[in-house]
């Protein structure tokens, strides 16, 4: 009983630790004053956020654009890669295993620095394109591992059955493998969207002047004086996260059944 109580207490403390700062942000977002002292309830920071923060929304649109494009490309490339690692043999299989595992474990900053140096050394202009390339690169390994873990439970005999019934390679892929892998592919896609929307460090290095994503914009807001608009933005983002998490659970259930 004692052990159970200890772990329960630790769990409660952890929850408080995780949520307290977020609750503070939520409460502060409704504070009409600029400081932390409570000046009364107000929605003025939401008004500022929605009606007077054009640059923020521009960076938000860039973030969405990059998250969608890079996640689709990385999901396609990562899924094919997972299929190749699971079922096929080819010469550079060992090399592929190593290079698809390493980016997952190296610190972000290494990828940021090396991509910056690469792009600069080949005189590739920094901007949205380099952000897209970087995001696709760090998303591919995540998709690969999510899809690969799905493939471990995949019953290959249904693919063989399809071949026996005369399916071509392409038909087997599009009519049998991909539909059956859909839950894994969707998890991979959602994971890449989330990672892309959240990435700060790698984007910071490869963005160059002029193109800013939402995390870069938030960073500059924090760095150049704390603005209560961030509180309002945080609340919107937290609410969006929870809504997305809930709906994807529903979507996933729907896709599986």
């Amino acid at each position: 009983m004692n052990k159970k109580n200890f772990s329960l207490n630790m769990f409660i403390l952890t929850l408080i630790f995780l949520y307290l700062p977020l609750v503070v942000l939520i409460v502060q977002s409704f504070n009409s004053g600029k400081g932390v002292a409570w000046d009364g309830f107000s929605l003025k920071w939401y008004d500022e956020l929605f009606n007077h923060s054009a640059r923020l929304w521009k960076s938000f649109r860039y973030s969405i654009l990059i998250a969608l494009t890079s996640s689709v490309i990385s999901t396609a490339i990562g899924t094919l890669g997972a299929i190749s690692l699971q079922w096929y043999s080819f010469k550079h299989k060992k090399y592929l295993r190593v290079i698809s595992y390493l980016p997952l474990v190296l610190p972000d900053i290494i990828m940021g620095v090396s991509l910056l140096i690469l792009f600069t050394s080949i005189k590739f202009k920094l901007g949205l394109m380099t952000i897209f390339l970087a995001h696709t690169t760090f998303n591919i390994p995540f998709v690969l591992f999510i899809v690969l873990s799905r493939l471990h439970d995949f019953d290959y005999s249904i693919v063989e059955a399809a071949y026996d019934l005369g399916a071509t390679e392409k038909q087997a892929l599009t009519k049998v493998i991909l539909p059956n892998l859909m839950p894994g592919i969707i998890s991979g896609l959602l994971m890449s969207i989330t990672l892309s929307l959240d990435d700060f460090v790698i984007t910071f290095f490869v963005a160059g002047p002029g193109s800013s994503t939402l995390p870069l914009h938030i960073y500059s807001m924090i760095k150049f004086g704390v603005s209560p608009i961030i509180n309002a933005l945080s609340v919107i983002l937290i609410a969006g996260t929870i809504a997305l998490a809930m709906s994807t659970k529903k979507i996933q259930k729907y896709m599986v059944s």
Partner: protein
């Protein structure tokens, strides 16, 4: 196993992409680290080991020490909090819901999570306001090592809880009862049966906390002070302000090597002990 040609069709896009945008840039960094610094940033194509001469700088050694110290302390605290938390979740009836509660803050934007601590502990933050109201002197809670460690624990805790949770979920708690029946004390039963069995989870949790901590950039930049700058901050400074690219490349190379060595040691340790389980 299918034929080699189709294998190439499936594996070529990923191999090409990662070779061009992961392997090649990493190699370029290593090459740059052995070149001469250009006058206006960039490099000159002349061999030089100047990039690596930072070991004589006491400031650099201090930053290395900060990085190791902060990462180790943050990792130990994170894992110590994560084990009982994961244990509670894994043995609860409401596993999925509790996991969901842990994951939500983790899905909240990384910078917002850092910012939330500035709002709480900053010089004009909530806590200081409270102190002043209660008649105490305000205190500087952030821009020091303590803040960097605290926020790191906050940022990486979910990464540690998840692998520990999946390791604990597989653990058969009847083993604890068996050990108790055979006369082990509660403490001993946990140390001798529970910990060895969740070791893979502990190792993954350690990796998932320690590696991002080693490469931290945003946390020490936003809540650290001069005494708590980490390697990531030096790399960024050499790259963007001082514009000594060989040096930035050399430090990145060393950070990469440290990380790889660390992973190899830990995963070997993990394998060695898997076989020895009774």
């Amino acid at each position: 196993m299918k034929n080699q040609r189709s294998g190439l069709v499936y594996s070529t896009p990923i191999t090409l992409w990662l070779t061009l945008l992961f392997v090649a840039p990493t190699l370029i960094v290593v090459i740059y680290s052995f070149l001469k610094k250009g006058i206006y940033g960039g490099v000159e194509w002349i061999f030089s080991v100047d990039g690596y001469n930072f070991f004589s700088s006491s400031y650099f050694l201090k930053v290395v020490w900060n990085t190791v110290e902060i990462s180790v302390i943050a990792t130990v605290i994170t894992v110590l909090i994560a084990i009982p938390t994961a244990l509670y979740i894994a043995t609860s009836k409401y596993k999925n819901f509790l996991l969901f509660l842990i994951i939500i803050p983790f899905w909240t934007n990384f910078l917002i999570r850092i910012y939330s601590w500035i709002a709480l502990l900053g010089n004009n933050g909530l806590l200081n306001n409270l102190l002043i109201k209660l008649g105490f002197e305000p205190h500087q809670f952030i821009y020091n090592k303590f803040a960097v460690i605290l926020v790191s624990v906050y940022a990486y805790l979910p990464y540690a809880i998840l692998p520990l949770y999946s390791a604990i979920e597989k653990f058969d708690f009847a083993i604890i009862d068996a050990a108790r029946d055979l006369g082990a004390s509660k403490m001993k039963a946990y140390i001798k049966t529970f910990l060895p069995n969740i070791k893979p989870g502990v190792i993954t949790a350690t990796l998932f906390t320690f590696i991002p901590a080693l490469g931290s950039y945003a946390i020490p930049k936003l809540v650290g002070g001069n005494d708590s700058q980490m390697l990531g901050n030096i790399i960024a400074r050499e790259l963007t302000i001082t514009r000594n690219w060989p040096k930035a490349a050399a430090i990145s190379t060393i950070l990469t090597i440290i990380t790889v060595v660390f992973i190899v040691i830990l995963s070997k340790y993990d394998k060695d002990h898997k076989g020895g389980k009774v």
